[in-house]
């Protein structure tokens, strides 16, 4: 059985279908990449799965438990945590405190939370910034902070919304390694939205392509990138534009 099952979720805003009848499964310990052009409904899908928005139709099941319509903090407590594409730090406090709060929200005691937070901050490479006011971090730092905060909850499923965007190629490598380590060592299941094809190709076990709120196709990274529909909708108008 899949750890996360999303069945036929839909949501429209003012008559506009942002997410239209989308379904997918994620097996425990696997990595699902979601791609699609801007405006395809990826973030809305995340919002629906993570409880920020209630779906108008469909269900979300986590480890056999129906969590459709759960409030976001209940979803997090159930073991599924999301990050934000537009970074949302707790701006007035330090990096460490950002992470410690998340750890406490997951039930860790205050004392242990600080220790756990310090470890995670090191692990995502924010060590030298840990005492900075988080609102002052550069984009790359904020992206990592999003990740660190999510990790502090010790999630079973991690929903990552463009964690690599805004990072330079040299900055990306350690983050990708971290993601792989999370899966391999911690057994975390990952769902991530990403534009950077290299990362999608390298990390994903399977890829879901969204376009205009609907599932365009899904399959292995290779299947997806060679599909003419995907190339047309996402990678560019003419296949010759893209090397893959």
């Amino acid at each position: 059985m899949s750890l996360l099952e999303v069945r036929n979720v839909s949501r429209s805003f003012q008559g506009l279908k942002a997410v239209d009848d989308v379904s997918f499964d994620v097996k425990e310990g696997s990595i699902l990449g979601i791609i699609g052009p801007n405006g395809a409904g990826k973030t809305t899908l995340f919002n629906l799965v993570a409880g920020a928005i209630t779906p108008q139709a469909g269900t979300v099941t986590l480890d056999g438990r129906d969590i459709t319509g759960f409030a976001p903090h209940k979803v997090a407590q159930a073991g599924m945590v999301r990050t934000f594409q537009l970074m949302k730090p707790f701006g007035s406090v330090s990096v460490l405190e950002n992470v410690a709060v998340a750890a406490m929200a997951a039930g860790t005691s205050r004392h242990d939370a600080s220790k756990a937070a310090a470890q995670i901050v090191e692990r995502v490479g924010l060590g030298r910034w840990r005492d900075l006011q988080s609102s002052g971090l550069p984009t790359a730092g904020l992206k990592r902070l999003e990740l660190a905060r999510a990790l502090a909850v010790r999630p079973r499923v991690l929903l990552l919304d463009e964690v690599l965007a805004g990072l330079t190629p040299t900055e990306r490598a350690p983050v990708m390694e971290l993601l792989e380590a999370l899966r391999a060592e911690d057994g975390v299941t990952l769902v991530f939205v990403e534009h950077i094809m290299a990362a999608v190709m390298r990390l994903s076990d399977s890829v879901l392509v969204l376009d205009q709120g609907r599932v365009l196709m899904s399959g292995s990274p290779q299947e997806v990138t060679s599909d003419p529909r995907v190339i047309e909708a996402y990678l560019g108008q003419e296949p010759t534009d893209v090397a893959t």
């Binding site: 984009t139 330079t168 950077i196 560019g236 090397a243």
Partner: protein
């Protein structure tokens, strides 16, 4: 007409642009491509006076422009269309367009209005509708139309295809070509690098806050380094 020389800029003491040099000449489309976070938007913001450069020189039509207030630059013909569009949602299409001509107090606006409607006929049909009721593509057209109302000499477009379907993206890019044909220079930041490069007369590739490559659109479109910088391959 627009020239950036060794421009450094950033936010809150955080430097994002490192010695950026670029140039836009009369009547050409210049594309600015690069990965997310490369500093493209910041470059536009510096050029349009939204932020002030910390060092370096920005000149527009031979006169210094760095750090000028936006209103002054608009009056001189440098108009910025931001990615977030910043339309006046509760105002009608026509009102949005009329506001675009705010600095053109002296010239009658019927001509400009007609030109915009000619370029984007769909806007003419909906002139009494409020901007927030438009679809994403129409909003993008309105945003470009509003910028044209200021009778710009140089239009700076930030990711005009954001959120648009490929088909619409093409419509918008076509319109940009038509705008250039009317004698307006265009500085274009675009994610659809392939299309942008083919449309552009010249292009620059940015990476980590610096311009790393420059050349004609066609040259760069075939350059492996562009693929590396933009697509991360």
């Amino acid at each position: 007409m627009l020239r950036l020389e060794s421009v450094c800029a950033g936010y809150h003491g955080l430097q994002i642009l490192h010695e950026v040099d670029l140039e836009v000449n009369e009547g050409e489309i210049v594309a600015l491509v690069g990965a997310n976070g490369a500093g493209k938007t910041t470059t536009l913001r510096a050029a349009s006076g939204v932020i002030s450069p910390t060092s370096g020189q920005i000149t527009f039509q031979g006169e210094p422009a760095g750090g000028l207030r936006t209103a002054g630059l608009v009056a001189r013909g440098l108009v910025h269309v931001p990615e977030e569009r910043a339309l006046f949602g509760p105002l009608t299409i026509e009102e949005n367009l009329r506001m675009g001509a705010w600095t053109q107090r002296k010239t009658p606006m019927s001509g400009a209005l007609a030109e915009v409607f000619e370029l984007f006929p769909v806007l003419a049909d909906r002139r009494r509708q409020t901007a927030e009721t438009l679809s994403g593509g129409q909003q993008q057209m309105l945003c470009i139309g509003r910028a044209l109302m200021a009778r710009p000499k140089l239009l700076m477009l930030d990711e005009p295809s954001t959120g648009l379907s490929p088909k619409l993206t093409w419509t918008v890019l076509e319109a940009i070509g038509m705008i250039r044909d009317r004698g307006v220079a265009v500085l274009l930041v675009e994610q659809n690098a392939g299309q942008a490069l083919r449309l552009a007369d010249r292009a620059y590739v940015m990476e980590s806050g610096s311009v790393v490559l420059g050349g004609t659109g066609a040259e760069l479109a075939d350059d492996d380094r562009v693929r590396a910088a933009y697509l991360g391959l």
